[in-house]
C-alpha cells in the first residue's frame, strides 16, 4: 500500500509514517508499505500521479490550502482517494471538504487510539468521517421514510447490488468524478449515472455527501469492498 502525506510540518512526518505503517501491516500483512511526504501541493504534484492508494492532505498549508489545495491534488492524482487531515474539525468545514470531493476527514486532535481507529478505517475503505460530524449532520437530517434501516442497508449493498454497482458506489463515495468512474470501469458515463441515481435513492441520499454519510454511519463501507 502506498500512502502520500502532504503536510507542511515535517515534525509529524515520522510519527505519522510509523503509525500508518503499523496499521497497514495489521490490515494487510502481505502488502508492501510505501510512504511519501510532501511539504506542499506543488511538491506533491511533482510525484507520479498513479503510484498512490491514498493521499492524506493537511487542511492548512502555506501556499495553496483548504478546498483549493484539495481540488489541485484531486486534479493531479485523478483516481486516488484524498482524505483531509485537520486539527480543526468543525462540522461546517467537514461538510465543505466532503462536498468538494474529499473521501474523508481525519481530525488531528484525536487522541492516539481514536486517530489509529480512524486511520484503520481510512486505510481499509479509503473513506472516513468523524463521529462528531455524523452526529451533528444526523441530528438535523429529517428521517426519510424510504431510507433503509442499517441492517437492511448492509444487506442491500452486499446482496442486491451487482458487483459493478458496488464498484461504482465505492468509487463515487470516495469522491471520484463520474467521468473518471466511467473511464476506470470502461462503461458509459450515462450508465454510471443510472447506477448512482438508483443506489442513492435506495440509500435515501440526495447526493454523494449524503450517500457517504449513510454508508459510513451504517458501518457499511466494508460491504462495498467485496467486489
Amino acid at each position: 500500500m502506498n500512502v502520500l502525506l502532504i503536510d507542511d510540518h515535517e515534525i509529524v512526518w515520522n510519527g505519522t509514517r510509523r503509525l500508518i505503517e503499523r496499521v497497514a501491516a495489521e490490515i494487510d500483512p502481505e502488502s508492501i508499505f510505501g510512504f511519501e511526504a510532501a511539504r506542499d501541493v506543488s511538491g506533491a504534484c511533482r510525484l507520479p500521479a498513479h503510484g498512490f492508494d491514498l493521499v492524506l492532505l493537511d487542511y492548512h498549508l502555506p501556499d495553496l490550502s483548504g478546498v483549493a489545495a484539495l481540488s489541485a491534488v484531486k486534479a493531479h492524482f485523478e483516481t486516488t482517494p484524498v482524505c483531509i487531515l485537520s486539527a480543526e474539525g468543525a462540522p461546517q468545514r467537514v461538510r465543505e471538504v466532503i462536498e468538494a470531493g474529499a473521501a474523508g476527514f481525519v481530525p488531528k486532535s484525536y487522541r492516539l487510539e481514536e486517530m489509529e481507529a480512524a486511520l484503520r478505517v481510512v486505510l481499509r475503505h479509503r473513506v472516513y468521517l468523524p463521529a462528531e460530524f455524523l452526529l451533528v449532520d444526523n441530528a438535523t437530517r429529517t428521517e426519510d421514510p424510504d431510507a433503509l434501516e442499517r441492517d437492511e442497508l448492509v444487506r442491500f449493498l452486499k446482496v442486491e447490488l451487482s458487483p459493478r454497482q458496488r464498484q461504482v458506489l465505492a468509487l463515487a463515495i470516495r469522491g471520484t468524478p463520474v467521468k473518471l468512474i466511467a473511464r476506470k470501469l470502461t462503461i458509459a458515463e450515462g450508465t454510471v449515472k443510472v447506477h448512482l441515481s438508483m443506489v442513492y435513492r435506495a440509500l435515501g441520499a440526495h447526493n454523494r455527501t449524503d450517500a457517504l454519510c449513510r454508508v459510513f454511519e451504517a458501518q457499511a463501507a466494508a460491504a462495498l469492498e467485496s467486489t
Binding site: 510519527g15 503499523r22 452526529l135 441530528a139 424510504d146
Partner: protein, 617 residues
Amino acid sequence: MTVTGVAPPRADSLGTPQAPALTRAAVYEIGGEALDERRLQLMADRVPGARWSTVLGLLFLAAIAWRHVPSAVVIGWFAVTLVAREFRAAAQLRMVADRVTPVAVRLRNTVLLALLCGVCFGAAALFMRWLDTTLDALVTTMLFALATGGLAVNSTYSRAYAAYATPILGLTALMWAVEGGWIGLTVTLMILLAMGMHIRFARSNQETFEESFRIRLENEALVRSLAAERNELERARDAAMQSNLEKSRFLAAASHDLRQPLQSLTLNSGELARLPLASDARAMASDIGISVEQLRSMLDALLDLSKLDAGVVVAQPRRVRLALLVQAVVASFRAAAVVRGIGLEHQCPNDITVETDPDLLRRILSNLVDNAIKFTSSGAVSVQVAAGDLDVEIAVRDSGPGIAPEHHRLVFEDLVQLPGQGLDHRSGHGLGLGIVRRAAALLRVDIKLESQPGAGAVFRWRMPRAATQPGVSVAPDGVPSLVGKRFLVLDDDAMVRGAYANALAAAGAEICTAATIAEALRNTGQVNAAVIDWRLAEEGDGFTAIERLRERRPVLPVVMVTADTGPKIAEAAQRCGAVLLRKPVDASTLVRALLGAIAGPPMHETRSSAGTTSGAG
C-alpha cells in the same frame, strides 16, 4: 457670508479633528475674536445697501440749503460728505478682507470712520444759521432720519453708532440751543433725549447680536464635540473588532502550530510504548503517554474556550432531532463509564425536534456528561429529556459527591476545581463547565444546577421545541393565510366544490375548480396543490386523478378528502404521498392540510417515484 465670521474655530477643527470638547470659557475666548470679525463683516455688508438712501438724504439737505446758503459752502459740504461716506464704505470692505491688522485696531478705525461720517453729515446742521425755523425743522428731520438710518448699519457695534450719531444729533441740538428761546431749548432737550435713546437702543441691539452669536458658537462647539466623541467611539469599536480579528487569527495559528509538535509527541510516544522495552522504560513511555494525553485534552479545551470567547463562534440554529444527538453523545462516553465502573443511561422521546445549534448543544451535553463521569465513583450518570407542549427539559444527573450550594456559581468559573471531590485527576482541567457556560450563553439557555453535598448533582435546562410543521405560520386562532397561492379543487359534486372554493378563497387563495379529471388536467399548470375528492363520478377514483395529474406535475402536493373510514384508502394515500382528510372537513383543517402538503419535506418525489419503481419491479 458666515465663512469669514467663523473661520478661526473652523480652521481649528479641521486641523485637529480630535480637539477636546470646548469649554464655555473657551467658547467666549474664541468668540471674542470671531465676534469682532463678524461685527465688521455685518457692517461692511450693510454700508453699500444704505448708499442711495444716504445720498438722497444728502441731496435733499443740499437742496434745502441751496437758495439760502452760499453755493460754495453747500457744494463743498456735499462733496466732502459724499467722499467721506464712500471712503468709509470702501474702508469698511477693506477691513473685512484684512486679516493681518489686529481686529481691535480695525474696530477703532471703524469708530473713527463712523465719527468722520457723523461729523460730515452733522455739519449740515450748521446750515441752520442761514435758514428760517421752518427749514430748520426740515433739516432737523433729515438729520434725524440719517442718524436713525445709521442704526441699521452700526447695529452690531454701539460704539461706532455713538461716534456716528453723536456729532449729527449733537450739532443739531447745539444749533437749536444757539437759536435759543423756549422752542429752541425744548427742541434741544428733545434731541438730546432722543440721542440717548438711540444710543441705548444700539447698545441693546449689540448685546442681542453678541448673545445670539455666542449661542451659535456654542452649538457649533457642541456639534463638533459630539462628532469628535462619535469618531472616538467608532475608532474604539474598530480597534476592538480589529483586536478580535487578530485574536481569532492568532487562535487559528495557535491551534494549528501548537498541535503539530503535540501530534508528533502523541504519535511517537504511542509507537514507543509498543516497542519491546525494559519494564522501567515501558513505565516511562506510559507516563509520557499519559502526560501527552492530558496536555492534549487541556489544549483542546483551552482552544475551545478561547474560540468561544473570541466571538468567532456563532449559534447556527437548525431543526435538531434530540434523540439522535443524546444517543450519540451518550454512546461516545460509554467506554469511559465502563472504565469508571458506573452506569450511563439516557431517556429521550424519539420524535422531539428542537431549534438549536447542534454543535453547541453537543458540546454542552458532552462536557456535562464528561464532568459527571469524572466526579462519580459509584452509581450512575443519566441524561433525561422530558417533553412539554412547547419546550423540552434536559437534565444531566449524577450520583457523585454533590456540590454545596455556596459553590454552585463557582463551578462554572474557569480552572476551578473544588477540593475533596472524587475527581479523576488524570483528566480534569477545570475548563469543561466554563465551555458549558459559554456555549449555553450562545444558545441563550439557562442551565441550573441542583445539588447538595452527598446527594449527587443535576444540571437542568429548558429549550423551546421546534414548530411541528416548518413554514406554516398559524395565527393563534383562526385560519392561516393562503394569499399568493393557487389551488385546484376536483370534486364531482358542484355544491361541495363550491364550499371548498369559498373556504379557500376566504383565506386569500386563488381557486380553479374541476368536475372531471379531464377538466382538472387543463388546470394543473400553475397550482401549488390540489384538493381531490376520493369518489368521482367518472370511472376511476381520486387516486386515478392523482396519477393522471402527476404525469404532468410529478411532485404536485395533494390533499385527498373522503368519507370512507377504511384503512385501504389511508394506505393508498400514504403510498402516493397525499394528505388524507376525513369528511366532514372544516375550513381551517383544509387550509392547514394544504399548507402542510406544500411545506412537507420534499419526499413526495421520492415517494411517488419509489412507488413507481416498486410497481414496475
